[in-house]
């Protein structure tokens, strides 16, 4: 198969794919056996929402304010009180301040990859990127581990996936990208998902059986070739999605009551949150929302105040509230993160902040964790964690644990190489307590 290439001049896999093939590589048939068996549901979360903020949001101007820092660090924004005594966040996140009890702020997450693509790969996979192997994104792992109703995609990206690829797990776990976000009040669907009215289910079923019988040319290499295997999987999955009214219904946000939908607002991000809530309610185990525009090298405060933060504030607070209203918050683990923070020291020539990986924030909610807390801490200028800090790997390990997935579980790549889901991290005990 064509290996995904990056533009950064790095050769990803200069090799033959040789070795103990098939010993551990998950074949489609074993996958299907697995999903058809009743999966053991983990305690706590059954679904996950991953909110990716590509570009790297400033931690100091959002969830890690330092009102007492010197002026060359502090920035224009004030900190405000939240519903939880002692916790303060930016004044431009008033709604999230009011629902502080729903989520946890992780401060002083730290790493050293201050480049967008690498940082994105890191926070999307929970593994520090290395040249010889591409790690799978959360969505690929979760859809593989948790499965889900056959008639729904197991991994959806709104509107598309940034760096959360499927890595060594192969394309069959790739996210279905909606390509767009819902327009408030209008029916929403993903193109091609609805069955033509003139066909009956039995017609389509019969036709699908024909396809299966005629599509045998590559059966010889079916289990040895990721491309062939992935296409098989897509064929089966597409069929289930198309024939089920459930998929259509799951995507159609206009079927929500107007009072429920109203709280999400009309922004693209808010509508994405609404869609994510609905998809999870219908059984989609993993949804990614991408909301970019955070690379504020220039004009940081203006961009945050007028453009970036209001939709985040409205959409995210509605997501927490909406999940709770539907009784889904405890079973849905939400993780919000960019790829890094931004320089605590203001870049005065551009009135902005630059890439900064030594300190960043993340948010977690649902999935059984207790909200209303801050975990971790940065120093007085938010330049680094006060103590050891946590790494993206630790957060990943926590995220997986909440979903009942053992982060130390070993997969085998198509070359038979054993790799743990999260290679370096340990669940953050403080967060799970």
């Amino acid at each position: 198969m064509a290996i995904h290439r990056t533009c950064d001049g790095v050769l990803r896999r200069d090799f033959l794919k040789l070795g103990a093939l098939g010993t551990g590589g998950l074949s489609l048939s074993s996958y299907l056996r697995w999903t058809h068996a009743a999966p053991v549901q983990p305690k706590g979360a059954r679904a996950a929402i991953f909110i990716n903020l590509p570009g790297g949001p400033s931690h100091m101007d959002t969830f890690d304010p330092k009102p007492d820092a010197p002026s060359e660090y502090r920035g224009d924004f004030k900190a405000i009180k939240t519903s939880v005594p002692g916790i303060q966040i930016s004044e431009h996140l008033p709604k999230l301040a009011r629902c502080m009890d729903k989520y946890v702020i992780l401060r002083g997450i730290t790493h050293s990859l201050a480049a967008h693509k690498l940082g994105q790969e890191y926070v999307n996979t929970g593994n520090r990127p290395i040249p010889s192997l591409e790690f799978p994104g959360y969505g690929a792992v979760v859809s593989r581990e948790l499965g889900g109703p056959g008639e729904l995609p197991h991994n959806v990206a709104i509107p598309k996936n940034n760096q959360g690829g499927t890595g060594y797990l192969g394309v069959k776990y790739a996210a279905l990208a909606t390509g767009k976000t819902p327009t408030p009040g209008l029916p929403f669907s993903v193109r091609g998902m609805t069955l033509d009215g003139s066909l009956t289910i039995s017609d389509v079923e019969r036709r699908q059986m024909l396809l299966e019988d005629l599509d045998q040319r590559f059966s010889l290499i079916q289990e040895k070739n990721q491309l062939v295997e992935g296409l098989d999987r897509f064929t089966e999955q597409a069929y289930k999605i198309i024939t089920s009214p459930k998929a259509k219904e799951a995507f159609d946000t206009s079927r929500e009551s107007s009072s429920f939908a109203a709280q999400f607002g009309e922004t693209k991000f808010g509508q994405s949150c609404l869609l994510a809530t609905r998809l999870v309610e219908h059984g989609v185990p993993f949804v990614t929302i991408s909301y970019g525009g955070w690379d504020t090298h220039r004009d940081n405060w203006n961009a945050l105040k007028n453009k970036q933060l209001p939709p985040l504030d409205e959409g995210l607070s509605a997501l927490f509230a909406g999940l709770e209203q539907k009784g889904l918050l405890d079973s849905t683990s939400v993780l919000v993160t960019g790829e890094f923070g931004r320089t605590p020291k203001i870049n005065t020539t551009r009135n902005g902040r630059d890439h900064y990986a030594r300190a960043m924030f993340m948010l977690m909610a649902g999935g059984g964790i207790t909200g209303g807390r801050v975990v971790g801490e940065t120093d007085d200028t938010a330049s680094g964690p006060r103590h050891d800090g946590y790494s993206p790997d630790d957060v990943a390990a926590t995220y997986y644990s909440l979903l009942g997935i053992n982060p130390k579980k070993e997969y085998h790549t198509s070359t038979g190489r054993p790799v743990m889901i999260v290679r370096d991290g340990n669940p953050i005990r403080e967060l799970l307590s």
């Binding site: 290439r5 390509g179 998902m193 491309l227």
Partner: protein
């Protein structure tokens, strides 16, 4: 953008290095393997010369460039996360990857509180920090009593000298062994790296090199250059030192069939010979040749971006002549699809994207991108040589020799005019390559140029030494000087540099210059309209500024000497650089050239590219074309020609690059050479030895068909015979000739199938990955279903001649529907009578209309030739026709005859279908949804 990329590269590659270096320190000074001493002329390893017993003063003083900087690299000091960061770390900065010797030396010795204290060695933070005698955020990196400590200490004791003007320069790095062939897991080798300097000095620098493996599944390499074989495969280990990057191939055969044990067989072409030479080392036996059907489908898709028609396939399959494959290749290369598809590929590589064209010319909104495509298409169609095509792009300026601005505008307007038949494709140059908005600054031009014509990524070197190639920041800066004089003048540039002619022309068109609403888009839209109607309107143009007043050679020499001096102040250096900008430039890996007497500096660049010794020009094209045929390049990714990313088969690449040059850069030579080889015509069916190898061309690799090609393939496969023929010959309307990349109303299907976005100087702008959405599209998208059932489709054609036979169950439906229509008609008749009685004319008219419609539906039902028998009965009476139809469905999609099983299954399906048409539709649908259709195999 560059900053990001560069950081990425660093971080990706060196993440592990820090850890390794820490480990190294704790290993103390013991090296793993004793040094070899096979050459007396070579200065021995520094870790031997500087072990702890030789610490006394007076011993050899290490050099800054040769020893200190590489050692800092090994200790991790100049890494991206440490002092190599662009802000430095803890107030101390080193150049990333340590190639700015001047700046590094300055940063170490200058300032209020220099890191290196020659007068007080022990007070030097340079030693105290890494020893962690004082607080060091990077932790302990150095221990007393080690050779590393001794080297740094002796350097300070010796005066902490930097690099002086006359110092020897780096010539090359020799690494032995040149190739590693493994026999078993766990086998080990020690690399030895010898640096050669311009004064003849040679030194074993193994302990100062950085090492990396390109695949740790095949071989691991530790920080000492100690290689361990891990498993079967084919990769490289790479040694880095100063500007040297040396990959050493590691081959671990996959079977016992190597050397004399390798089966003997004939190779047909030079390509086959070279491929098999490599396979023999690997113990891989190539697969056999593919079938005729597979060959025809593969070659048609690859060469012409088009599926063969049914009649063509039938003729080819039944052709008994032994040379039919070669003949077919020649035929395909003459087809319009060849020119269309390869023009599209060239548009990918040159970056033809509508969104990047200036929005302020009359050519806005897809005209410029169409011109671009048509220009390239014209050249490919007449098989103009690649160097000529490139010349037309590289030397492009808008005006012809001696052409006035007015004449230029008149000529351009004629290309837009509806009346005129003049074609932009006929003019000698393609200025649109230079008018792109992301190709205006010299930096952008340097990057884009290197990407397009050289397949080289020099992004990293924009800011620091390229970590995996020879390019330095200095190389980049001098290379980009070729471009400083090329500009896009949106309002033209007449003598004296003004835009008067432009304004005059607007006035002549009665355009009110004071109308504030009429500017930007609106103005240009109007100009475009006027040009279409035959008026002459003003255009922007690509111009090359005249050379600056030449400076005397002596003065230049003086400036160069000053620039290269160690003492020059950064500010002064900047000044001189500005002065030299546009006066001199350096081709990558070449010499400084004077530009100030040359009218167009790009001429030098072009001449350099076309030189026989140029390693990139021919290779990059050859490799990209190869990658189009084999899924991966000989160098992969195909647009990353760099030292640390060596070709999987250097002899093969050299042969093709050399042959391509000798052919006069004849692209058809290259296509022929590739397509006629056995290597191209191998089966995708693997054997035990080549199953896992997708990089050495021992078998065909099934791969998804590119976006435009699969889009067209669906149209051809579903088309009726006449339309299919048309689609093959009239390619203008086909997706393979799409000129709308970057427009805002892009084709959905092309987008989800990964058509190149042509945005980022990367071949990966085109995606060949499959996705669930693609499958959903093929199975159920309305566009897809409409293609199958549309008027004029094959389905329409074959089913028109057969009645819509229905099975007995349908009879009931038929009777029910006829009855219900009859009832409705009776009802309407009553209403008509009443309305007539009332004299209500409007009602009468409406009712009559309704009745007419009912009668029509009844007639349609009757015309559908309700057949009292079943589809099954019809099949048994028309067996021959049925098998012909199924044959045709197979030929038009997967380009082969169905097997007996497949035929039986299809007939059985048809037999159970409500109507023959439904059944045939579904069979075609199923074939379009097989992997065999979606993959080129």
């Amino acid at each position: 953008m560059w900053a990001k990329e560069m950081k990425q590269i660093f971080e990706r590659r060196f993440a592990g290095l820090l850890v390794a270096l820490l480990a190294l320190l704790f290993f103390s000074s013991q090296t793993v393997v004793a040094a070899t001493s096979d050459s007396t002329a070579v200065v021995s390893r520094i870790d031997e010369r500087f072990d702890s017993s030789q610490l006394e003063k007076g011993s050899h003083v290490p050099e800054f460039r040769q020893h200190v900087v590489p050692l800092l690299g090994r200790l991790g000091c100049n890494g991206r996360a440490c002092h190599g960061s662009f802000q430095g770390q803890g107030g101390f900065q080193l150049s990333l990857f340590g190639y700015d010797f001047e700046a590094d030396h300055r940063n170490l010795l200058e300032g209020d509180d220099p890191r290196v204290r020659v007068d007080d060695l022990d007070a030097s933070l340079f030693l105290q920090k890494p020893l962690e005698q004082v607080d060091h955020e990077g932790g302990q990196r150095l221990k007393k009593g080690t050779w590393q400590y001794a080297v740094l200490k002796r350097w300070i004791e010796g005066g902490a000298k930097g690099v002086a003007a006359g110092d020897a320069t780096f010539v090359r790095l020799d690494v032995t062994p040149h190739e590693i062939v493994a026999r078993e897991r766990g086998q080990t080798w020690q690399l030895k790296a010898v640096a050669v300097w311009s004064d003849g000095m040679q030194e074993d620098v193994t302990p100062l090199c950085r090492f990396r493996t390109n695949n740790d599944q095949v071989a691991e390499i530790d920080e000492h250059g100690f290689v361990t074989a891990k498993g079967p495969g084919d990769s490289h280990v790479v040694a880095f030192y100063d500007n040297g990057v040396v990959p050493v191939p590691v081959i671990f055969p996959v079977s016992k069939k190597t050397g004399p044990e390798y089966p003997e067989f004939e190779t047909s072409t030079r390509i086959d010979e070279l491929v098999v030479k490599k396979l023999r080392k690997l113990g891989e036996v190539p697969s056999g040749l593919c079938s005729d059907g597979e060959f025809l489908r593969r070659a048609s898709l690859d060469i012409t971006g088009t599926l063969p028609t049914v009649s063509e396939t039938e003729a080819f399959l039944s052709d008994g002549s032994p040379n039919k494959r070669d003949t077919k290749i020649e035929e395909l290369l003459e087809r319009p699809g060849y020119a269309a598809w390869w023009a599209t590929k060239l548009c990918d590589w040159t970056g033809n994207n509508d969104r990047n064209q200036p929005n302020n010319g009359p050519e806005q909104r897809l005209r410029a991108s169409r011109f671009w495509y048509e220009w390239i298409h014209g050249k490919v169609a007449e098989n103009q040589s690649y160097d000529k095509i490139v010349t037309g792009i590289v030397l492009a300026r808008s005006r012809l020799d001696g052409e006035s601005y007015e004449a230029y505008c008149e000529r351009m307007s004629s290309y837009l005019s509806k009346e005129d038949n003049a074609s932009f494709a006929d003019q000698p140059f393609l200025p649109y390559f230079w008018t792109r908005q992301n190709f205006r600054k010299p930096e952008e031009q340097a990057l884009g140029f290197a990407y397009t014509f050289l397949g080289v990524r020099i992004q990293c070197a924009q800011c620091h030494k390229h970590p995996f190639d020879q390019w330095t920041k200095d190389d980049f800066d001098r290379f980009k000087n070729f471009f400083t004089r090329v500009q896009y003048a949106g309002k033209g540039r007449t003598d004296g540099g003004n835009t008067k002619a432009y304004r005059d022309m607007l006035v002549a068109l009665d355009i009110d210059l004071s109308d504030k609403d009429l500017k930007g888009n609106r103005l240009y839209k109007q100009l475009g309209q006027l040009a279409m109607n035959g008026k002459t309107v003003p255009f922007g143009e690509v111009v090359v500024s005249p050379p600056r007043a030449p400076i005397k050679a002596e003065k230049l020499a003086g400036i160069m000497a000053e620039m290269n001096s160690e003492k020059i102040k950064p500010k002064k250096k900047e000044q001189l650089e500005r002065f030299l900008m546009g006066r001199t430039a350096t081709v990558l890996g070449g010499k400084e050239m004077r530009l100030d007497e040359i009218e167009d500096p790009r001429e030098i660049l072009l001449a350099w590219m076309l030189e026989e010794s140029n390693p990139y020009f021919s290779q990059s094209l050859v490799n990209r074309v190869w990658a189009s045929y084999f899924n991966v390049g000989i160098i992969e990714p195909p647009d990353d020609l760099s030292l640390a990313n060596p070709p999987s088969n250097p002899d093969l690449l050299n042969y093709l690059a050399e042959g391509f040059r000798r052919s006069g850069f004849d692209m058809k030579w290259l296509h022929r050479e590739i397509c006629k080889s056995d290597t191209y015509q191998r089966s995708w069916e693997p054997n035990a030895t080549n199953l896992n190898d997708e990089r050495n061309f021992g078998r065909a690799v099934a791969r998804r068909i590119p976006a435009e090609v699969i889009y067209d393939a669906v149209r051809t496969a579903t088309a009726g015979d006449r339309e299919a023929m048309e689609l093959c010959s009239l390619v203008e309307k086909r997706a393979i000739a799409d000129t709308t990349v970057g427009s805002y109303n892009n084709n959905y299907a092309l987008e989800i199938f990964g058509q190149s976005t042509r945005e980022s100087n990367c071949d990966c702008d085109r995606s060949m990955e499959p996705s669930l959405l693609q499958t959903v599209f093929l199975q159920n998208d309305k566009e897809m279903l409409d293609a199958i059932g549309r008027r004029g489709s094959w389905l329409d054609e074959v089913t028109r001649t057969i009645p819509s036979f229905r099975d007995p169950a349908a009879k009931k439906i038929y009777l029910e529907r006829t009855e219900s229509i009859d009832n409705e008609l009776a009802e309407l008749k009553k209403r008509l009578e009443n309305a007539t009685k009332d004299g209500n004319k409007a009602a009468i008219k409406a009712i009559q209309k309704s009745m007419k419609a009912r009668e029509a539906s009844k007639k349609a039902l009757d015309d559908s030739s309700f057949f009292p028998g079943s589809v099954a009965e019809w099949i048994s009476e028309n067996q021959r026709l049925v098998s012909e139809i199924i044959e045709s469905a197979y030929l038009r999609t997967v380009v082969r005859h169905p097997t007996e099983t497949e035929m039986n299954r299809s007939v059985a399906y048809l037999r159970q279908s409500p109507t023959a048409k439904d059944g045939i539709r579904d069979i075609l649908w199923a074939l379009l949804n097989t992997k065999e259709f979606a993959l080129n195999h």
